[in-house]
């Protein structure tokens, strides 16, 4: 092999997905996918937990905040939880979290909950490939970048405010209702 003289060009962007898989079903299914030599996209990085019930919504938010483009949670099928009902607890939290994420402008496809049993290696492959494709189409989430932008904006705003308040130190703060644009139907 001839070594390239120039450092290689940065590879094209592909999504980074953090996955939380329960030990008993989905992690085992991912092992099975390996043993069966199924091939899937290398975009998922798995964290093993004992149960999907252990997935703290903060884990999901933290992953997004640190730059994940998507988060995948895998648990046992309803009724099959190794710990009776941890997956139901996750399901409830997931519903709440999805609503919150929607309010934050994060589309639901970015955070996905899947029931994958220990026998469903094929499904691990299908879900990971499907999610990778979807996120590829959505493009980077880049929350760290957005945070930086927002921080910069706020810093700007603060600076502007300071200079303006320096101009009119006596100004009283009066609140004006925002102008509502009613679009003619």
């Amino acid at each position: 092999m001839n070594a390239p003289a120039q450092p290689p060009a940065a590879p094209p962007w592909t999504p980074r997905i953090v996955a939380f898989f329960c030990n008993w079903c989905t992690y085992t299914a991912a092992d099975l996918a390996g043993v069966s030599r199924l091939k899937y996209a290398p975009n998922v990085r798995v964290i093993r937990l004992m149960c999907s019930g252990r997935v703290d919504p903060q884990f999901i938010l933290e992953a997004l905040r640190r730059g994940a483009d998507g988060v995948l949670i895998g648990g046992c099928h309803p009724g099959d939880c190794h710990y009776v009902e941890g997956n139901y607890k996750m399901l409830r939290r997931f519903g709440l979290l999805q609503r919150m994420l929607a309010d934050l402008g994060i589309p639901p496809a970015r955070v996905r909950l899947e029931w994958i049993s220990a026998a469903e290696g094929e499904r691990v492959k299908a879900v990971i490939n499907d999610m990778t494709r979807q996120l590829q189409a959505l493009g980077p989430l880049d929350l760290p970048g957005k945070f930086a932008d927002w921080d910069a904006e706020i810093a700007d705003l603060a600076a502007t405010l300071q200079t303006e308040s320096a101009k009119e130190p006596e100004a009283t703060h009066t609140w004006e209702p925002p102008k509502v644009l009613v679009q003619p139907q």
């Binding site: 092992d31 043993v35 941890g86 049993s117």
Partner: protein, 678 residues
């Protein structure tokens, strides 16, 4: 307890696993990358980390380099975490200061791009390094093991496992759903390939079970609830009433002779409905236990199962002083304590009505293989004479292989025993009836000791083998020779012609399926099922009789189709695994339990979340308390605590957060080609 003061000194090892990892992941490059991460004292790549030299390498390094954390990137922790924890402990470190990275099942085996797989391995390793820095020393609790064993299902698998354990001095509760143990094997006349009489080899084992002082046999019973954990299971068993007192019945069967029904009138389940029995009956002569039972659905003293007391009760008279018949018997629930469980619930034959083109139920002379097992049996409904349902004796018989096996429309798997039992039945049918025998097969699968020879023997006997999947069985005659016959329409794929073969009797070699209630049973014992619905073993090669629940083992056809020799071998293996567990006397509990932190505000949100009621509330301190003996370590309460005041050993919040961070901080540069690495 948590002190991160001393310097973190991590040793990192990446395993080649021969070519399994090294062919898709550049191991030397991963080691070089990890070697420069903070806290890492040394990073090595090695051919086989799980080998003795690999483990010794870790131990030597711990001493030499003063390592206080070890991270190994190799296969799945479900496979070798125990191995490496033991190695680390032997090196003098607390075993929980070890962390494992899965770069085989989760990387090298599933990816096709070496650069991408290597980059992923680096990222996973980096996350593990961060996490390992936060690992705490943990103590391991010892829990005593109850030496009793529950065996569920009394087929040849359950019988063999129960006897093995009982012989080793363990107490066994054998729970069988039917009135007698014996399973499918009890119905067979002969067994392939040796053609030894099934009853002759099975009956002694059944009697041994019935008589063994270490075995409590409860037939006509179901397991209804299982609580607890490895070493300490509490099991509830429902004993259905047989309306006969088991202690008092001597098995003399005088009651049966004196039943108000002079003639047997009701379909006999044991004979697959080919014979008749009375309301009071014993399933078959060698039944174990030797206790009769009354079928309340048809007994005159009941009406549709409800006691009316309107019969003359000639059976009670016949029983006389023994007073064994008890019409008032009620269902009972018993509770037992065991340390281990062996599930041996067997299989169900494929329901042939799902392939209507073979005419079962339409043409009376189409039989299932199990029916024919009874038909050729000297103690069967026709005493071994081959008399058809319409009273005729066959001069030509077809056996159709792979009914409900190797078929995308029904079951895809090969049922493993049908080729062999079809040949066995062909031999027996020919012997008993002198008829011409035709086997219609896809492939003959005879992989076993003496099996191929058995196939040769049948060829010599003049049994016909026609290769092709039968299209249909019909009574529509095209030529006079086909009048009154069943015609097999098949493409003979060796001759390349479509054939019509008239016969008098058709035998459907039904495949083996999971029981209809397999899902319910699986949930009861906290097991998993494979896609086909058979119970899933922990590892297909290395843990074939273990399940994902510690202390629960599987044996026989409930795990997948197999013949009797394999079933017995597996039952012995399950018994040995249970013995190994019990004889240790105690188990070391995985220390992944939850614990309440000092800042618990006492909001009680966690209390209703725990499925094991392991969380209590201390009114004095106004804080939650977790009983670590009851906690199974799911972590649901940890995730739910609104103030983050519950931790989970091995899965602490900071550990998970550091892992997330490690996965996502800027990815390593696309790696420049290193100086030649093999």
């Amino acid at each position: 307890m948590v002190s991160l003061k001393p310097e973190i000194r991590i040793g990192f090892y990446v395993c080649h696993c021969g070519h399994n990892i090294a062919s898709m992941v550049d191991c030397a490059d991963v080691a070089a990358y990890v070697g420069q991460l903070p806290g890492v004292v040394l990073a090595r790549d090695y051919k086989y980390m799980c080998s003795d030299p690999g483990q010794e390498l870790i131990q030597k390094d711990i001493a030499e380099f003063g390592l206080n954390r070890v991270v190994v990137a190799s296969c799945s922790p479900l496979l070798h975490e125990h191995t490496f924890r033991a190695a680390v402990a032997a090196g003098g470190l607390n075993p929980f200061l070890f962390h494992m990275v899965n770069i085989r099942e989760h990387a090298s085996w599933v990816h096709t791009d070496r650069a991408a797989a290597t980059a992923k391995a680096k990222v996973l390793a980096r996350a593990a390094i961060r996490r390992a820095a936060l690992a705490r020393e943990l103590p391991q609790r010892q829990i005593p093991i109850n030496p009793g064993v529950l065996v569920v299902g009394g087929g040849i698998a359950g019988i063999h496992a129960a006897l093995t354990l009982a012989e080793a001095g363990k107490h066994v509760w054998l729970i069988e759903r039917e009135a007698s143990i014996g399973g499918h094997m009890a119905k067979f006349d002969k067994t392939f390939p040796t053609l030894d009489c099934a009853a002759c080899i099975l009956t002694p084992k059944m009697s041994a079970v019935g008589a063994h002082p270490n075995i409590t046999l409860w037939s006509h019973s179901d397991v209804v609830q299982v609580d607890g954990y490895v070493g300490n299971y509490t099991v509830k068993v429902r004993r259905r009433p047989r309306y006969v007192n088991e202690e008092l019945c001597t098995g003399c069967q005088e009651c049966i002779g004196n039943c108000i029904y002079k003639e047997p009138k009701f379909p006999d389940e044991f004979n697959e409905g080919l014979g008749k029995r009375k309301p009071i009956h014993i399933p078959f002569p060698q039944a174990t236990p030797q206790v009769v039972l009354i079928d309340p659905q048809v007994c005159l003293n009941f009406k549709r199962g409800v006691l009316t007391d309107r019969c003359k009760k000639t059976c009670v008279e016949a029983c006389g002083d023994r007073k064994a018949i008890d019409f008032t018997q009620k269902e009972e629930t018993k509770e037992i304590q065991v340390g281990a469980i062996i599930v041996a619930t067997g299989f169900k034959p494929f329901d042939v009505r799902r392939v209507p083109q073979y005419g079962y139920g339409t043409y009376p002379n189409v039989y299932t293989a199990l029916e024919v097992e009874r038909l050729v049996n000297a103690s069967g409904p026709t005493a071994g004479e081959i008399v058809l349902r319409d009273g005729r004796r066959p001069s030509a018989i077809a056996i159709i292989h792979c009914v409900g096996s190797r078929d995308k429309k029904t079951n895809r798997w090969c049922s493993r025993v049908c080729c062999m039992y079809s040949m066995k039945l062909a031999h027996l049918l020919k012997e008993h009836s002198g008829a011409e025998l035709y086997n219609f097969y896809i492939d003959i699968r005879a992989p076993g000791k003496g099996y191929e020879e058995f196939y040769d023997k049948l060829n010599e006997e003049g049994v016909h083998f026609i290769r092709g999947r039968v299209g249909e069985v019909t009574d529509w005659a095209m030529i006079p020779e086909e009048e009154g016959k069943l015609v097999i329409r098949v493409e003979d794929t060796l001759a390349g012609v479509v054939r019509r073969i008239p016969v008098d009797m058709v035998v459907l070699a039904t495949g083996l399926e999971p029981h209809a209630d397999a899902q319910a049973v699986r949930r009861l014992f906290n097991m998993s099922c494979g896609t086909e619905g058979f119970f899933l073993e922990r590892h297909p090669k290395l843990a074939p009789v273990s399940t994902f629940t510690d202390g629960v083992y599987i044996a026989g056809c409930c795990q997948g189709p197999r013949d009797i020799p394999d079933t017995v071998a597996q039952a012995g293996a399950a018994a040995a695994e249970a013995l190994a567990l019990i004889d240790r006397g105690h188990i070391l509990q995985e220390p992944n339990t939850a614990h309440v932190l000092a800042d618990c505000s006492g909001c009680k949100s966690c209390l209703p979340l725990c499925p094991y009621t392991a969380i209590g509330f201390d009114e004095a301190t106004h804080q939650a308390v977790i009983n670590e003996a009851l906690c199974k370590g799911c972590g649901t309460c940890v995730a739910a605590c609104p103030s983050g005041s519950i931790g989970q050993h091995l899965f602490e919040d900071d550990e998970v957060f550091s892992e997330i961070e490690g996965l996502l901080t800027a990815d390593p540069e696309p790696t420049p080609a290193l100086a030649a690495t093999p």
